[in-house]
């Protein structure tokens, strides 16, 4: 399934808690976003800006109060598993803390085969799982290990392999490198970069503009529930227009290392 993954005019408010609190706070207001295969887009914003909520809506795990999510010509809405299989085969996800998203009772092979089986992917599941494991550069003997027997970085790769196993067109990655040390971080980002060159459409959710600058052609800035700026990443870094983008750019500059040290670190 190819075509553009698009969110149009999305608004979202969490249901009110209790009876007293009558004013629902809107988490998202008329947000639109388009991603194409073979491109990568960064979704940046400070924490609480609504990034994770937007991802949940894009995954058809939450229903927006207004607006639609569509892939190609088909609209997508939360519903029973069987009506969404086609969408889940096309759009996969790497959650925050990917290693924690692995059931500790299952072996890597069981973990990789689960989406293949549940989503009724055609072909030999064992071979597809092996290919996915190879793609993330894990040795074949890792197949029979459980998450508890692998390192954090290896588990991260298993989670990515599980998302790749169904050969999706799009990958949504929610802060996939936030908990990793620098070398591991680079390795994972390189892997994702390679996938984009192979034709994957990537949405990289991050609070860190440096990562966005390195990985993504386009960057969308989310602030207070609205898209305040969407531009080619280079242009955004050079001349940010909105206050939120200015703040993010300044914050990332402050963190940047002096040039000589940077060379050592990378």
């Amino acid at each position: 399934m190819t075509g553009t993954l698009a969110a149009e005019g999305i608004s979202f408010a969490y249901p009110t808690r209790g009876f007293r609190n009558k004013q629902p706070a809107e988490t998202l207001r008329h947000v639109s976003l388009r991603i194409s295969p073979g491109t990568s887009t960064a979704l940046v914003g400070s924490s609480g800006s609504g990034k994770s909520t937007l991802v949940r809506i894009l995954l058809a795990m939450a229903k927006p109060s207004t607006g639609t999510v569509s892939l190609g010509a088909r609209d997508v809405a939360p519903g029973p598993v069987r009506t969404l299989r086609w969408y889940r085969r096309a759009v996969q996800y790497i959650p925050q803390n990917p290693a924690g998203s692995l059931d500790p009772r299952m072996t890597v092979s069981q973990l990789l085969m689960e989406p293949l089986r549940q989503l009724r992917v055609e072909g030999n599941h064992r071979d597809l799982a092996a290919q996915a494991l190879e793609r993330v550069e894990l040795p074949a003997r890792a197949m029979h290990r459980r998450p508890g027997e692998l390192s954090g970085g290896q588990n991260q790769r298993v989670a990515i392999a599980r998302a790749l196993a169904v050969k999706p067109t799009y990958l949504l990655a929610d802060e996939p490198v936030s908990g990793l040390d620098l070398p591991l971080r680079d390795a994972v980002l390189e892997l994702l970069d390679g996938l984009v060159h192979e034709g994957l459409g990537l949405l990289l959710v991050t609070h860190d503009l440096t990562t966005a600058a390195r990985m993504c052609g386009t960057t969308a800035v989310l602030s207070g529930g609205s898209t305040v700026e969407q531009a080619p990443t280079g242009q955004l870094l050079e001349s940010p227009a909105s206050p939120a983008a200015v703040a993010l750019v300044q914050a990332s500059r402050g963190l940047q290392l002096p040039a000589p040290l940077q060379a050592v670190a990378l």
């Binding site: 209790g18 889940r88 925050q96 009772r105 989406p115 549940q118």
Partner: protein
């Protein structure tokens, strides 16, 4: 979990459904008892008539069983609203006045029991308050005192009767004529109730002293009395829901106590009505008890609301600094009691429990270690064989409860009402209802105990499942295409199964005691089966001439209680009482 929005609606609806269901059950009892009741009534009222089809039809017509279930239920409800509780099936007199008088006696008895319980709570909590004021951490309650205060009422009243009424002769053993008659029954009811409340409250007080605000108050120069009062106010709300359950539990305990001490209260009236299958009397009594339970529940909820206020949610209350993380397990007590129990069972199984081979009420000797009962049967053999019957039934009950608890616990909101009702209903009352409908039997007792024992397991399941659902590896499953049923059966169930199985096994001795209580009251297995409660009931008539006839089954039951309480203390058994902090996610995750 604090219900919000639609969840609150679901919970409320579930409560209303549960309460309505209970009323319908009580209203339907005459129809449910059906055929069994006809025979019983025929035998009770017209012992000269043969049970011919004509005679039985006449009884049916007389009792109004011909109208069908719905009409009977409607006419019963109409009667209740008109103040007419029905006509006794046995002596054809109105039920209302007798039940009213019995209720008065029972409420008086419960008043005495509450005074006794309050004294015991004070005795247990004063050291906790003092330790806290002296800034000593003090020891949490040990297993042995906990076990001694949690003997079931039927056993405790039998023991108090022997000691205080027969050996010491300080108090009259039977009857209900003056305040001196109330002392032993009040103690029998008050010791378990006060013991449980006291231990819970003293633990809550010790935990409250560990909270950070106490240190702040001290630095600010709060006085001792001021501090003690504040800590008490902090500790009380946590134990109030339990207080409601304990007070409702008193109604079940009162049945046994009133039987042992021959007190003309509601419990004894119900027991008589159940064994005679006098359904209208039982209906009126159950209605009175439900009203009492509703009143107590409302009062404790109101008290809790007044103490912590409407705005404060559980999540905003301060947390105690966790005490030493090393789990302090007292394994000696359960190990010793289990070993003693196994020894009795092993020795008893090799002997014949039915043959009247000995002298009546023979005293214990080396060849007959526990003596003989009134029919000259070997008591060691009867206690040993009884263990197999009682514990075996208990095992079946526990497994059924585990299955029901898991099924119900996975849908916690919709199950709130039935769960609360089952959790509050004492097994003895359930036993009364079942015995009245089907006649007393071992299966009936097992059914009754199972009907109320699934609740803690369901609550534990709900808490564990809630915890499992929050795990990232469960949350991602919809994206991988795993449907709701698959998530439940293939992911959550395996994650919760092990801790639940352990919890269920810890409940085994407690369930065995509940079965024994029903046996003791004559609501369980009948003669001559060697069931612990039944052996105790048989022996109690001869307590003056042959105390060993009581001592043998009582010591086995005490061992089982000690085992039950000490196990509950070390494992997850106590977990169900503490919502939100159940189980151990790390341990659940580590299990493969």
């Amino acid at each position: 979990m604090i219900p919000t929005g639609t969840a609150l609606l679901k919970v409320t609806a579930s409560r209303i459904v549960a309460l309505t269901g209970l009323v319908v059950l009580v209203g339907m009892m005459p129809w449910l008892s059906g055929r069994g009741a006809e025979y019983t009534i025929l035998r009770a009222k017209y012992s000269d008539r043969e049970p011919t089809p004509e005679a039985l039809a006449a009884i049916r017509a007389e009792l109004g069983l011909e109208q069908g279930p719905l009409a009977m239920f409607v006419s019963w409800v109409q009667g209740v609203f008109a103040g007419d509780l029905g006509i006794s099936w046995i002596n054809s007199t109105p039920v209302g006045p007798g039940i009213g008088a019995a209720l008065g006696v029972s409420v008086t008895l419960m008043g005495f029991a509450i005074v006794a319980a309050a004294i015991i709570v004070l005795l247990i909590c004063v050291p906790a308050v003092r330790d806290g004021l002296r800034q000593r951490r003090g020891q949490a309650s040990g297993a042995l005192p906990a076990a001694l205060t949690s003997l079931p009422e039927f056993l405790l009243s039998a023991m108090l009767l022997v000691v205080g009424g027969v050996w010491l002769q300080w108090f009259p053993p039977f009857g209900w004529k003056g305040p001196e008659h109330a002392v032993l029954p009040a103690l029998a009811l008050g010791i378990p109730a006060g013991g449980l409340m006291g231990l819970l409250l003293s633990d809550a007080i010790r935990a409250a002293y560990g909270e950070k605000w106490v240190a702040t108050w001290r630095l600010a120069g709060a006085g001792r009395a001021q501090l003690a009062l504040a800590v008490l106010r902090r500790a009380l709300p946590a134990v109030l829901p339990q207080l409601g359950l304990v007070l409702i539990g008193l109604t079940g305990g009162a049945v046994a106590v009133e039987k042992v001490y021959a007190i003309p209260g509601l419990g004894r009236a119900l027991l008589g009505a159940a064994s005679a299958q006098d359904i209208p009397t039982l209906q009126a009594g159950m209605l009175a008890l439900m009203g009492l339970a509703l009143l107590v529940g409302t009062l404790t909820t109101a008290a809790r609301y007044l103490l912590i206020g409407p705005a404060v949610r559980l999540g905003t209350l301060p947390l105690a600094e966790p005490p030493r993380s090393a789990v302090h397990r007292q394994l000696a007590v359960p190990a010793v009691s289990a070993a003693a129990l196994l020894l009795i069972i092993g020795a008893g199984l090799l002997r014949d429990p039915y043959a009247s081979a000995h002298q009546r009420l023979a005293a214990p000797t080396w060849s007959l270690p526990f003596g003989a009962d009134a029919s000259g049967r070997d008591l060691l053999a009867r206690v040993g064989h009884g263990a197999v019957g009682t514990l075996g039934t208990a095992l079946v009950v526990v497994l059924v409860c585990l299955a029901v608890g898991i099924a119900v616990g996975l849908f916690p909101l919709a199950a709130t009402g039935p769960l609360e009702v089952a959790n509050a209903a004492p097994p003895i009352l359930a036993g009364l209802v079942v015995a009245a409908i089907t006649g007393p039997s071992a299966q009936g007792a097992a059914l009754a105990v199972a009907a109320v024992s699934w609740a803690p397991l369901a609550a534990h399941t709900a808490a564990l499942a809630q915890e499992a659902r929050a795990q990232p590896y469960i949350q991602i499953l919809p994206v991988l295409g795993v449907g709701k049923a698959g998530i439940m059966l293939r992911y959550i169930l395996p994650a919760v199964a092990r801790p639940l199985l352990r919890h269920a096994m810890l409940r085994l001795p407690g369930v065995a005691l509940a079965l024994a209580a029903l046996g003791f009251l004559g609501l369980g297995p009948q003669q001559p089966s060697p069931e612990w409660g039944l052996i105790l009931a048989e022996g109690i008539g001869y307590v003056e001439r042959a105390p060993w006839a009581v001592l043998a089954p009582a010591s086995a039951l005490v061992l089982a209680s000690v085992l039950a309480v000490s196990l509950a203390g070390t494992g997850s058994g106590s977990g169900a009482a503490r919502p939100g902090r159940l189980g151990n996610p790390a341990a659940a995750r580590a299990e493969k």
